[in-house]
């Protein structure tokens, strides 16, 4: 019996020929990651372990991105603690404001995570790197502290669940829509404890940016990771970025999956997840009349250059609705710069859109676009939980950049057909 992609990567990192679901293993870690919210707790726990140095100063990655540039004194204190730890440990991969990006836009852009890697991050959206064919999963701060000390962690080998996407995507429909549709299908715990594996013609045709959006939201279905086999697109993406060797793994033809689901993507339209769970999805044509107060285009889900290009294409020559605050947040300095070079920033400014420096900010109700009671936002972010973007009586509607940009123009939830 063969192994799935997840099993192969874990077996290789546990020094075993074979692993089976349910087995507890010790896995070597290629990188560990934390941010300004989770690192402070991890640093305190690390101090209790009794080692002076982290396992590898080049593989402990710290990215203050949640409440940065710091929103208040307490956040500044948290960032300071992370900064001082990075200096003391002589970490080579600490990303200060001005160099940083949203962690899950930054790491693959910088070539710090690669196909075949095992990565843990004290951030649930660490699963994003599954799009490179890496086993990447979120953990808490204490697990991260142990990972920083040992360069290894324990895992229960997950069962794998396969999703096959056939057919051709309709105009504007992208990775975000596929993953929202999938979460709508299986529910927010539909892949609980499992490795999700995304395959099929539509995935092969999807851009890397689209793939990152998909893997990013595996956690929103409860998944431990969201894997996509590395192919020629992946290799083209990592070749110029990688500074160390990597290995491409593929699932065996006779690998065992606990469940297989197939979708015809030509039948999937632009998706919107209604409050207050990502599983409350429907096609944008069935959104009804939902008036909005704010639009956020950014985050680790949709803050990449392709997302900004889509938004700009729709906003070009138009202005956003006068009652809709529209905020674009490029996911990294590189994305920002690229958007400038391509003239996207000019389109946004002329459309009365505010553009922010990279930050997680509003996605988790931190800063840079907090909602008041009764307000509604369309956001290209990943969670629409109660109070996620501000007041507990505010509402977040999740969508991809096309719906977000179109909705910003009309002031209610629509697809691009409604504005072009």
């Amino acid at each position: 019996m063969g192994m799935t992609l997840a099993e192969k990567i874990l077996a290789a990192h546990a020094g075993k020929d074979k692993v089976v679901p349910g087995e507890l293993i010790n896995s070597k870690l290629d990188a560990v990651l934390a941010n300004d919210i989770t690192a402070p707790v991890a640093i305190k726990e690390f101090a209790k372990i009794g080692v002076e140095k982290v396992f590898d100063k080049d593989r402990v990655i710290l990215v203050p991105d949640h409440f940065t540039p710091n929103k208040d004194i307490q956040s500044a204190e948290q960032s300071k603690m992370v900064r001082e730890f990075a200096r003391k440990q002589e970490l080579t991969q600490y990303f200060e404001v001005g160099r940083m990006g949203i962690e899950h836009v930054l790491l693959h852009e910088q070539g710090l995570v690669l196909p075949g890697d095992v990565i843990i991050g004290a951030d649930s959206h660490t699963c994003t790197y599954g799009a490179l064919g890496a086993f990447a999963t979120g953990v808490g701060s204490t697990d991260l502290a142990a990972g920083m000390a040992l360069g290894e962690t324990w895992f229960k080998v997950p069962e794998s669940m396969k999703f096959v996407y056939n057919g051709e995507l309709s105009k504007w429909v992208g990775g975000k829509d596929l993953i929202l549709y999938t979460i709508g299908d299986i529910g927010v715990d539909g892949a609980l404890y499992r490795a999700m594996e995304f395959t099929g013609e539509a995935i092969r045709n999807l851009s890397m940016d689209g793939r990152f959006s998909m893997s990013n939201m595996a956690i929103e279905a409860g998944g431990k990771c969201g894997l996509i086999e590395a192919d020629e697109k992946t290799i083209a993406y990592v070749e110029s970025r990688a500074k160390r060797p990597y290995k491409v793994y593929q699932s065996d033809a006779d690998a065992q999956y606990v469940e297989v689901r197939e979708y015809d993507v030509s039948k999937i339209e632009l998706q919107v997840a209604f409050p207050h769970l990502p599983e409350n999805t429907r096609g944008v044509s069935e959104a009804g009349h939902v008036q909005i107060d704010q639009v956020i285009i950014g985050s680790c889900t949709n803050g990449r250059i392709e997302d900004l290009r889509i938004a700009a294409e729709i906003l070009q020559g138009k202005t956003v609705h006068p009652y809709v605050r529209t905020i674009v947040i490029p996911g990294s300095q590189q994305v920002w710069l690229q958007a400038v070079k391509e003239g996207l920033m000019e389109i946004f400014i002329n459309a009365n859109v505010a553009v922010s420096t990279p930050t997680c900010g509003p996605c988790l109700g931190g800063h840079m676009g907090i909602l008041a009671a009764g307000e509604r936002a369309v956001a290209t972010t990943n969670r629409n939980f109660v109070g996620r973007m501000g007041h507990p009586e505010s509402e977040v509607y999740l969508a991809g950049p096309a719906v977000a940009a179109a909705s910003a123009i009309t002031g209610r939830i629509v697809g691009p057909e409604g504005v072009l």
């Binding site: 009794g50 409440f67 953990v139 701060s141 204490t142 715990d189 609980l192 404890y193 969670r383």
Partner: protein, 166 residues
């Protein structure tokens, strides 16, 4: 270990933003976090509970973020343990790591009602409902995790491991 307390019941998919909203994550001080435990699910929660009380919830408790602040807030608020139909993966690991006892039992989560008084035996996983005269059994932890719990959490386990390697 044995926990006795009154039940506060919650529904399915209680996410980490409900357990501790991100607007309070500019600190990791357990006492500060405890003040806002479950705030967006029940504004009065921390004023209503007494030390040792028990949270009982439906499926997928603790879904969402990896913030360890969530189990820390629950523990620091004085909740003795959480019983649920199922737990989200990261919350499950975090709870074990920081020493918040959790028990997975669909049967218990179904039958127990708000205000019931429970006695939970952490060693056997037996949950006694004193109010209803019923008894349920939670799934036992795998041996490796029992070992982690017995050592007092992950950090103690790692500390020993580091010593052995030295």
């Amino acid at each position: 270990m044995r926990f006795e307390g009154k039940v506060w019941k919650f529904g399915k998919d209680i996410d980490t933003d409900l357990i501790i909203p991100a607007r309070y994550l500019n600190t990791s001080d357990p006492a500060e976090l405890a003040k806002h435990c479950m705030e967006d699910a029940d504004k009065e929660f921390v004023n209503k509970i007494s030390g040792g009380d028990i949270i009982v919830a439906d499926k997928n408790f603790g879904c969402g973020s990896s913030r360890e602040h969530a189990p820390i807030a629950i523990k620091a608020a004085g909740i003795s343990c959480v019983v649920a139909k199922s737990f989200a993966r990261i919350f499950y690991r975090n709870s074990i790591n920081i020493g918040l006892p959790i028990f997975e039992s669909p049967e218990a989560a179904e039958a127990i009602q708000e205000g019931d008084t429970l006695v939970v035996d952490a060693n056997t996983g037996v949950i006694k409902n004193l109010t209803r005269g019923e008894e349920y059994v939670a799934a036992p932890f795998p041996e490796f995790m029992q070992n982690l719990i017995a050592k007092g959490g992950l950090i103690n386990y790692v500390r020993e491991k580091v010593k052995d390697n030295a």
